[in-house]
């Protein structure tokens, strides 16, 4: 691991406005969905979004939040995929 030249406070100072902008952007998107006709409460994509937002505030994911959110949006890996696809090398 490479040592970060900036300490935590310096990183926060540098990133705070970006975080603010992104959070407001997400909030505005949710507002837009709310204002639109219909409901997406049961849509699997909303479930993924809710799970992702939960990860942001969970202490257990410190240092690995991006990786955890990536996995929410990933198809499962089957270790037996070669047999299941009947893949042969000839």
């Amino acid at each position: 691991m490479t040592v970060l030249p900036l300490d935590a406070e310096a990183v926060l100072t540098r990133e705070q406005l970006k975080v603010r902008a992104k959070l407001i952007e997400i909030a505005a998107i949710f507002d837009r969905i709310d204002r639109a006709e219909g409901s997406v409460d049961d849509d699997v994509r909303m479930t993924e979004i809710r799970e992702s937002i939960a990860i942001l505030s969970e202490q257990s994911h410190r240092g690995a939040r991006a990786e955890r959110i990536q996995m929410i949006y990933s198809r499962e890996f089957d270790p037996n995929w070669q047999q299941n696809l009947e893949l042969t090398k000839d």
Binding site: M1, T2, L4, P5, L6, R14, A66, E67, Q70, M71, Y73, S74, R75, E76, F77, D78, W81, Q82, L85, E86, L87, K89
Partner: protein
């Protein structure tokens, strides 16, 4: 700072882009064969494309002092047509001795299907038989994790392959570690929406260190930014990383990886940049 873009599809870019890249410090590019946005209809279509990659693109790049290298294959999107894929794989050796051909790529998976895996294995076999280096495309978005794991399985099953001569590209937070832990090179692609942003690519360097990591723009015909590598350089500087570390990722590493190819011949420019081990710009 001089840099290499180790993955960029210049056939899709304008000559003005070459000029811009040169002005920003790019002195070399490597261009993997890829999908044109439509399925090519015959092996002759690929032969024409390979002529373009090995003849005209190096010429166009040279107008701006940029060295151009290339990789040949039929890409994963077209691999569903196994018969055509086999015809292309049989034709590739016609070009393997051309100057600047670094190896087989970008091969890989797209939707992680049986046909894609079959064609991937046949490309691996070609590379193993001909002693070529390999550049690998990993799938997009929700298919990336699964496809990367499948690719690693197939690579690790083939004892003929030298892992130091294989780069698994488009890694992100959830795939970088597995690729590096298996001893392969890993490429990070900087895209506006999918794949990595420059900021997240710097995070990955900070997390895993610079060893066997490459960074590229994968500039192509879709939404992409051919000058993304300079964005990465700037982000590294603004975070206070030393010039020596930045240079290692964007210049030394590509040269080290490419140097394992018999067709990689590169005359480095006389580098007279400040040897700043100290950070600048913060």
């Amino acid at each position: 700072m001089y840099y290499f873009d180790p993955h960029i599809h210049m056939v899709s870019r304008t000559t003005d882009d070459y000029e811009t890249l040169a002005k920003m410090g790019c002195i070399g590019v490597s261009e993997p064969a890829f999908w044109a946005g439509y399925d090519r209809g015959s092996v002759d279509g690929f032969r024409d494309y390979f002529h373009q990659l090995t003849d005209f693109e190096p010429k166009r790049a040279s107008w701006y002092g940029i060295a151009h290298y290339t990789w040949l294959c039929i890409n994963a999107k077209e691999a569903e047509n196994v018969q055509l894929s086999r015809e292309v794989i049989a034709m590739i050796p016609e070009f393997l001795d051309c100057p600047g051909v670094l190896g087989i790529g970008e091969i890989g998976l797209n939707k992680n299907t049986k046909n894609e895996a079959t064609v991937f294995l046949e490309h691996l076999d070609l590379a193993a038989r001909t002693g070529e280096q390999i550049l690998i495309h990993t799938p997009h978005l929700e298919d990336k994790y699964q496809g990367t794991r499948m690719i690693l399985d197939m690579l690790c099953d083939d004892s003929r392959l030298d892992r130091q001569r294989v780069c698994v590209d488009h890694v992100e937070e959830h795939t970088a570690k597995a690729v590096l832990d298996e001893g392969f090179w890993a490429g990070m692609t900087l895209y506006p929406v999918s794949k990595c942003t420059p900021e997240r690519a710097v995070d990955i360097v900070e997390k895993f260190g610079p060893e066997r990591l490459l960074v590229n723009s994968a500039g192509d015909w879709g939404p992409s930014k051919p000058t993304a590598v300079p964005d990465f350089i700037l982000e590294m500087r603004l975070r206070g990383h030393p010039e020596s570390l930045i240079r290692r990722v964007v210049y030394d590493n590509p040269i080290k990886f490419f140097s394992q190819s018999r067709n990689f011949h590169f005359d480095p420019p006389q580098i007279d940049e400040p040897r700043a081990d100290e950070p600048i710009g913060v």
